[in-house]
């Protein structure tokens, strides 16, 4: 039997339906898992994404031919039946289920198995073959529990506010920043945002996702008007000239990479909070187990080690080469929002 999905130099391809999933070169029909730049690219003739992912994708890619689909809704494309299921990565993110002649494959894009209070919670989908990321596919990656994480961030912010310091928190403009917004205790002080973060906030608020009040940082912003503020910045703005306007401050970075002390120290901020939009080691293993799949393809992250691990666990596991990047520590993600 032919494979439901194949791996080409343009992206993940379904021969029976003649479409691609998250392609990285221009194609006729693209099914998009979510709006991050390495999964949703410019230049496709037709796009299909979930209703809740669509606003950000439109915001980023402009006037594109974008059709939307609800979670769980099935649609026939050529000889394939496709449906989108929550991936828990960022608002609107999806795993794409593709069924051809009784064979079910799932391309999961990026995913996170724990609920974050913002993204639609991850939903396991039974399948024969599962295409997985493994950005954090090593057993040293274990995420801090949500309640502990909230306490850590709030304590840090409150202590800074009490000492007259501004708290500057670096996080990606789409997803992570909004998740942090809904996690922190907004009663501690005002929340200021970098333009790239605020642009995404605006898009999400327009689709009726509830976020606490925020104040956009402009060239005229005076920090003296916002004592005890928390500033949500993009990673690249942290430590640069943009951040200097806030005077006495403490900086922190929120990323899964903060689990590693060496990386935390390299970022040279004061604090690192271990928080990611991706699954940790246990999350990846649980997710894979729950699919019931026997064939696993690892697309990005610690692909070789993770494939070897899965093989030792009895899976028919393979590494495939893609252009997905997962959670990057150092590359600026500002391209996410074009007018940032």
């Amino acid at each position: 039997m032919a494979d439901v999905l194949t791996f080409t130099d343009r992206g993940i391809y379904c021969p029976a339906g003649d479409f691609y999933i998250d392609p990285w070169r221009p194609v006729d029909r693209a099914l998009i898992t979510h709006g991050h730049a390495d999964h949703s690219r410019w230049g496709m003739r037709r796009y299909l994404a979930t209703e809740s992912a669509a606003p950000v994708i439109r915001h980023r890619l402009g006037d594109i031919a974008l059709d939307t689909i609800r979670y769980g809704e099935t649609r026939r494309i050529g000889g394939a039946i496709v449906s989108f299921h929550p991936a828990g990565h960022v608002p609107g993110s999806a795993q794409i289920r593709v069924e051809v002649a009784g064979q079910v494959w799932v391309a999961s894009g990026d995913y996170k198995t724990t609920a974050d209070g913002l993204s639609e919670p991850f939903e396991p989908v039974r399948c024969h073959a599962f295409i997985t990321e493994c950005t954090f596919g090593l057993p040293v990656f274990k995420w801090t529990e949500e309640a502990t994480l909230k306490r850590q961030m709030n304590d840090w912010w409150a202590a800074n506010a009490a000492a007259g310091r501004t708290s500057i928190l670096g996080a990606y403009a789409l997803g992570k920043a909004q998740r942090l917004l809904t996690s922190v205790d907004a009663s501690i002080g005002p929340i200021l945002t970098h333009g790239a973060v605020e642009n995404t906030n605006a898009v999400l608020r327009a689709q009726r996702i509830a976020l606490p009040d925020t104040i956009r940082v402009t060239p005229d912003t005076k920090i003296a008007d916002h004592p005890g503020a928390l500033v949500l910045a993009t990673p690249s703005a942290l430590g640069g000239t943009w951040a200097r306007r806030f005077g006495a401050s403490s900086s922190a970075f929120a990323s899964g990479w903060m689990a590693l002390r060496g990386v935390r120290r390299r970022r040279a901020g004061d604090r690192g909070f271990v928080v990611s939009d991706h699954a940790d080691w246990d999350g990846l293993n649980d997710a894979i187990k729950q699919t019931g799949a026997t064939r696993i393809f690892t697309t990005h992250g610690y692909t070789n080690a993770f494939q070897k691990w899965l093989s030792s666990e009895g899976y028919d596991a393979h590494v495939v080469s893609t252009e997905y990047e997962g959670e990057q520590l150092d590359d600026s993600d500002d391209t996410l929002v074009d007018d940032a």
Binding site: L260, G262, G269
Partner: protein
């Protein structure tokens, strides 16, 4: 251990020196004496004896975490620190404990007397009772190298704040080969008897690289010596015993047995600052000759003959049992010259010659001959300067010759570990040999973080092949590499090995075709090898 972990967390969560020092000083005021003593020991490079091999620790941790050993190793490769890898990979503790730092160190000593099964049971029980940070620090005690972002200098500053004692005085007290087992907090810190330990060295005075010759003032205020390419050492002769200390406070007396005869030629109560130099026929040998002696605890006869060493003396710190570091350099040196002159020519002792010069220009011209003399340039010392402790600006300067350089093509990249995890920072470089690129060296340092990030992004998109962690990349980027020396090496494909290679510049302006060739490298080998 809880308090020690809290101290570590406070120090680790900040990049500000003042905050680190304040946290340490708080701890050194309030902790029990035994814990303070161990803390000072750990932060001055004295760790408990390694009782359990790293290999056993890996096995036990992997087994406890129910993971294959190769996956543990893979993780360790990314994390870059064994203790951290173990702390992260183990399941959460199932019990609790509340013991002091010195309790755990004593517990480790106790375990070391037991058999392997009992040791394992003891370590697993400890791991299972400690939360992540304490577990990390406990394991750090087992794995050696207790580097956690606190230098001895910072610790000494904090100790000065906590005890009200003078920092320089404390620096001296902390020198030498004491351990928490051989002394007490009172004897080491509180008692005032600096001569208690006859082997105790003085803190080394270290120089910065010269920034601007024009700031030095008149040449007549200065003394110049060749900067020798050996190992810095402090030779101590007190009460008939001699000791040789390295700059890193390693006792290297036994590695250079030929220096023992100096006991017969030097007056008692003499401390000399010098370079240990491979030397024959009144001429320094290359650093390679000395290299064969470094790291050897005992020296075979053959090596003593092939690579004999001398003490190339350049300063006198103690004369007739008196600390004379506050006297002017010119006076110390005059006395040193007398002492050296009194020793016979056959003694392995030389006075590092003062280089005569009338003005800076003539000295600059002489400096160009450094490589021919197996020297790295000049040391400039102000004639009226005292001997200070640590790295200080103003009175002593290194005026090194420019390194050798070559333009090379990056052909392989590998991710670093620890601070550099998930950045491609370790590169292999090649030069042209006809139409082929021949790898000849690796280099890891010299670029800015921003440049490493840029290259990392580029490597991800320009990988031709993966060999495990190593990526072969498109030969596209040229770097100017600097190095201190070059020698023939039959073990390398290129036939050469470089000393201390690093990246000087990313040559964006240079196309790959214009990188240097193997012939260029061989020309350097002929000239300087």
């Amino acid at each position: 251990m809880k308090d020690f972990a809290a101290l570590f967390t406070r120090v680790d969560e900040t990049t500000k020196t003042t905050v680190k020092v304040a946290a340490l000083a708080d701890y050194l005021r309030t902790a029990p004496d035994d814990d303070k003593l161990w803390t000072v020991a750990l932060f001055s490079g004295r760790r408990p004896k390694r009782l359990i091999t790293a290999a056993r620790l890996r096995e036990w941790a992997a087994e406890r975490a129910a993971l294959p050993l190769w996956l543990f190793e893979e993780s360790y490769g990314i994390v870059g620190d064994l203790a951290e890898t173990i702390a992260l990979i183990l399941p959460d503790p199932s019990t609790t404990s509340d013991h002091s730092l010195s309790y755990w160190i004593a517990e480790l000593a106790r375990l070391s007397t037991l058999d392997d099964d009992a040791r394992k049971a003891g370590i697993l029980a400890a791991w299972d009772s400690l939360p992540t940070t304490q577990r990390f620090l406990f394991t750090k005690l087992l794995t050696g190298g207790f580097r956690i972002g606190v230098s001895q200098k910072l610790m000494t500053r904090a100790l000065a704040q906590a005890t009200g004692q003078d920092e320089a005085e404390l620096t001296h007290k902390l020198m030498g080969n004491w351990t928490p087992q051989t002394t007490t907090w009172h004897t080491l810190i509180e008692a005032h008897d600096p001569t208690a330990d006859l082997s105790r060295p003085y803190p080394f005075y270290l120089a910065y690289g010269l920034e601007d010759l024009n700031t030095l003032g008149p040449a007549s205020d200065w003394s110049a010596e060749w900067k020798w390419d050996g190992i810095r050492g402090q030779f101590i002769l007190r009460a008939g015993e001699h000791h040789l200390w390295s700059r890193g406070e390693d006792l290297m007396t036994d590695r250079f047995p030929e220096l023992a005869q100096l006991r017969d030629y030097l007056p008692d109560g003499t401390v000399i600052d010098a370079e240990v130099l491979a030397f024959r026929n009144e001429s320094p040998l290359s650093f390679n000759a000395l290299q064969s002696r470094i790291g050897r605890k005992t020296v075979p006869k053959k090596l003593l003959v092939e690579s004999p060493v001398v003490l190339m003396a350049y300063d006198l710190l103690e004369d007739a049992g008196q600390d004379i570091r506050s006297q002017p350099f010119a006076d110390r040196r005059a006395r040193l010259a007398q002492i050296v002159a009194a020793a016979p020519d056959a003694a392995p002792l030389r006075l590092s010659p003062a280089v005569a010069f009338d003005d800076w220009d003539s000295l600059a011209a002489l400096r160009e001959t450094s490589r021919d003399r197996h020297a790295e340039g000049f040391m400039l010392k102000r004639l009226n300067s005292p001997y200070l402790a640590g790295r200080k600006k103003g009175d002593w300067w290194k005026w090194k010759i420019d390194p050798l350089t070559i333009d090379a093509v990056m052909i392989y990249a590998q991710a670093g570990s620890g601070r550099r995890a998930n950045l491609f920072t370790d590169y292999t470089f090649a030069v042209w040999n006809g139409n082929d690129l021949i790898p000849f060296t690796k280099a890891y340092s010299g670029l800015t973080d921003a440049e490493f990030r840029q290259i990392t992004a580029w490597v991800r998109k320009n990988t031709l092949q993966k060999f495990g962690p190593v990526r072969q990349v498109k030969p596209q980027h040229v770097f100017e590499l600097a190095f201190e020396g070059i020698q023939a090496s039959p073990r390398h494909k290129s036939g050469v090995a470089l000393r201390f290679p690093r990246m000087l510049r990313w040559r964006h302006d240079k196309p790959v075709a214009e990188a240097n060739s193997l012939d260029d490298l061989n020309a350097l080998l002929d000239q300087y090898g």
